[in-house]
């Protein structure tokens, strides 16, 4: 049922235009450390400051992405979350007394975030990332609660989930929780810096990055030992790359500057975010302060590198000359204008393909998707007018698309393997969802 949690990123969302107020306290420690309040902000009451911090933390947790329908009122819920087990309908978390969380107390809210148990005692489905949110401190939970109580209440009844048997039986969640849920606030690692701990706190807690970047099993669960090792995102047909492998999205040899740019802007000199990660950047990461984005980068860069597989042997990388020629021809005609004859791109506008881990990693799913459907990087505060790539699904047939993806995976000393027309066809039938 871990899959439910992962599926939480599906679809598009209305953006909340609220920028972080300039008076926002930025915090360096894993626990917020109030900085001297800037001159112009002195008039703000403590209540206002808590609510502003709660708003920021709600953005860090990307609450709006799931709890708001594309054209609906913020946090009013109702959004259908397709999962392998049926549809989940996200609840209303506006402070409406009848249909929202207007009658909840701060204790109720903390229990929900920390233990995945709602006010009336029912167990939450793990589509709600409480296994990550359990790491959030009481103080931060309270700030988020105060913020949610301050938004406009919306009277909108929650819609019952449409889950198949046996997944519609909440009592079975007891078993799931025994296997995959460990309650507990984040424990700082005393051997690491305050900055590293702040980054770990955000990544493991509110960021709930492991929802997508950790492989999930048939029960929708995932093991902590495999944290951040990557996996397919159910119902979305995107591959969330491993953050612990330099053959995928491991960041060990990235500069902090590039990681911060990728998280905050959605573009960098090395890669660009698309698909579900573009949504995370759009709704959440672009609002992170420079200090917090850097803390996350510092932590992500130190994730243990444990490549489960070595680079593919040269025998696996053999490509038929005719396929290579077809790929090269279409690359020159359609791709080289933006990605350059040598695959170096024109970063950060157009990402490089040569040496790009997301091109060469063993799953070709994302590369095939990009060729078929194109994509725009998210429009963010620091990159509000992103460049985009057009779809080619109507121009290249399966053989041609497979050849061009093969070409970019093996040309310029790239260490990827060939893809087959069948792999392209499979995604063509599914996409865009």
């Amino acid at each position: 049922m871990r899959k439910l949690r992962v599926a939480i990123l599906a679809g598009t969302v209305v953006v909340i235009g609220a920028a972080i107020a300039t008076y926002m306290l930025s915090h360096k420690g894993y626990l917020p450390e109030p900085k001297p309040v800037p001159e112009g902000a002195r008039a703000l009451s403590p209540t206002t400051q808590v609510i502003a911090r709660g708003e920021y933390l709600a953005q860090a947790g990307d609450c709006v992405a799931c709890h708001t329908e594309p054209t609906g009122k913020p946090f009013a819920g109702g959004r259908a979350m397709p999962t392998p087990f049926g549809n989940i309908y996200v609840p209303n978390i506006t402070p409406d007394d009848e249909t929202g969380i207007g009658q909840w107390s701060a204790d109720d809210f903390y229990r929900a975030m920390h233990t995945g148990v709602t006010r009336n005692g029912t167990l939450m489905y793990p589509a709600m990332p409480f296994a990550s949110y359990t790491k959030v401190t009481r103080e931060d939970c309270d700030a988020i609660f105060n913020y949610l109580q301050s938004v406009t209440p919306v009277k909108q009844k929650n819609r019952p989930h449409e889950l198949r048997f046996p997944f519609n039986r909440r009592d079975l969640l007891v078993g799931w929780r025994a296997l995959y849920f460990k309650e507990g606030e984040y424990e700082p690692d005393p051997t690491q810096s305050t900055q590293w701990n702040r980054g770990a706190y955000l990544v493991q807690g509110l960021g709930h990055c492991s929802m997508c970047h950790t492989a999930i099993n048939a029960l929708g669960g995932s093991r902590e030992a495999q944290a951040f090792e990557g996996g397919m995102i159910p119902n979305q047909n995107w591959y969330a790359p491993s953050l612990t492998s330099n053959r995928e999205a491991g960041l060990a040899d990235w500069s902090i500057e590039d990681i911060v740019a990728l998280l905050q802007r959605g573009i960098s000199m090395r890669a660009t975010v698309y698909g579900p990660m573009a949504e995370v950047t759009y709704n959440s990461l672009q609002y992170m302060t420079d200090d917090d984005a850097e803390a996350m980068a510092v932590y992500l860069k130190t994730l243990p590198q444990r490549d489960s597989e070595g680079p593919p042997p040269s025998s696996a990388r053999l490509v038929q000359p005719s396929v290579m020629e077809s790929g090269r021809r279409n690359y020159e005609k359609q791709c080289a204008m933006c990605h350059g004859g040598e695959g170096k791109g024109f970063p950060p506008a157009f990402p490089p393909l040569a040496g790009n881990q997301s091109i060469t990693m063993s799953s070709p799913v994302n590369s095939i998707r990009m060729v078929l459907n194109g994509g725009y990087a998210p429009g963010t505060r620091k990159n509000p007018r992103p460049h985009g790539m057009p779809p080619f699904s109507h121009i290249l047939n399966d053989e041609e698309a497979a050849a061009v993806v093969t070409y970019i995976r093996v040309a310029w000393n790239n260490t990827g393997t060939p893809v087959t027309p069948a792999q392209v066809n499979e995604l063509r039938k599914l996409l865009p969802e």
């Binding site: 204008m337 057009p390 865009p432």
Partner: protein, 252 residues
């Protein structure tokens, strides 16, 4: 090279069968278009830090200048009123207008940028593609002409030209030009409106009109509109000269 299945309307829905012959007619047309039509859909730009480079995400379907491509289902967008284009981009982003390839592409783009894109294409005036050859059923044309130029008073269907402009180049701020569109696209959109798939700001005048059209009306008016020559001045009309027969939310 024809469109792939995921770029066509869902073939399982009944209303699509009604226009499938038009789509097939369009596929035939693709075979006879000159080679340069394809070239105009290949990514190309002069300066990387330009809007021209930023909108390369549009060109394989809508052409380098928004003139449309040989695929009849991808509309010409150049010269349509900026507010119309902006409304469509926002509707695609928010899922109000559903077409998965577009919904996906613009999902995470902010209002200001979508407005800039809309204004960019509204100002372009590329040459029009040659009009479509006569459709398989020339019987459709007289009925199409009547609907487009006179309407059908008995059924309270206003003429297309009343709001979309006497030369079919649209009306500012929110009504699109129809000239230069292919019959497959027009028929598919009217059909989507008839069945409630496509909608716009209330009061939704096109919903009222499309609901009064029969399937044959749709095919007729689409066939006729796709035959019309582009005028020398392709600019949309000003809204000041017309009292519209139906109230339209997109004009407010």
């Amino acid at each position: 090279m024809g469109p792939r299945s995921n770029f066509r309307p869902d073939p399982s829905s009944s209303h699509c069968r009604a226009v499938s012959f038009l789509v097939r007619g369009c596929l035939l047309l693709i075979g006879v278009l000159p080679a340069h039509a394809q070239q105009e859909a290949v990514p190309s730009y002069r300066a990387i830090d330009s809007l021209e480079a930023r909108v390369q995400g549009c060109v394989t379907c809508h052409g380098q200048s928004g003139q449309g491509t040989s695929n009849g289902y991808f509309p010409r967008i150049a010269g349509k009123p900026a507010a119309y284009l902006y409304n469509q981009l926002v509707a695609f982003r928010d899922g109000v207008r559903q077409y998965p390839p577009m919904n996906y592409l613009v999902a995470y783009l902010p209002d200001a940028y979508l407005r800039e894109m809309a204004e960019h294409y509204s100002k372009l005036r590329p040459a029009y593609a040659p009009k479509e050859p006569v459709p398989a059923d020339p019987q459709l044309l007289p009925r199409g002409k009547t609907l487009a130029t006179e309407g059908d008073a008995a059924r309270q269907i206003p003429a297309c030209v009343t709001c979309h402009g006497t030369t079919l180049t649209g009306m500012n701020p929110g009504i699109p030009g129809l000239v230069g569109l292919r019959s497959a696209y027009i028929a598919a959109q009217l059909t989507r409106w008839r069945v409630g798939d496509r909608r716009t700001a209330e009061p939704d005048c096109m919903k009222r009109i499309a609901g009064r059209l029969s399937e044959r009306d749709v095919a007729s008016v689409a066939a006729f509109l796709a035959q019309q020559e582009a005028p020398a001045d392709a600019a949309p009309e000003s809204p000041n000269f017309v009292r519209m027969p139906l109230a339209c939310g997109s004009q407010r």
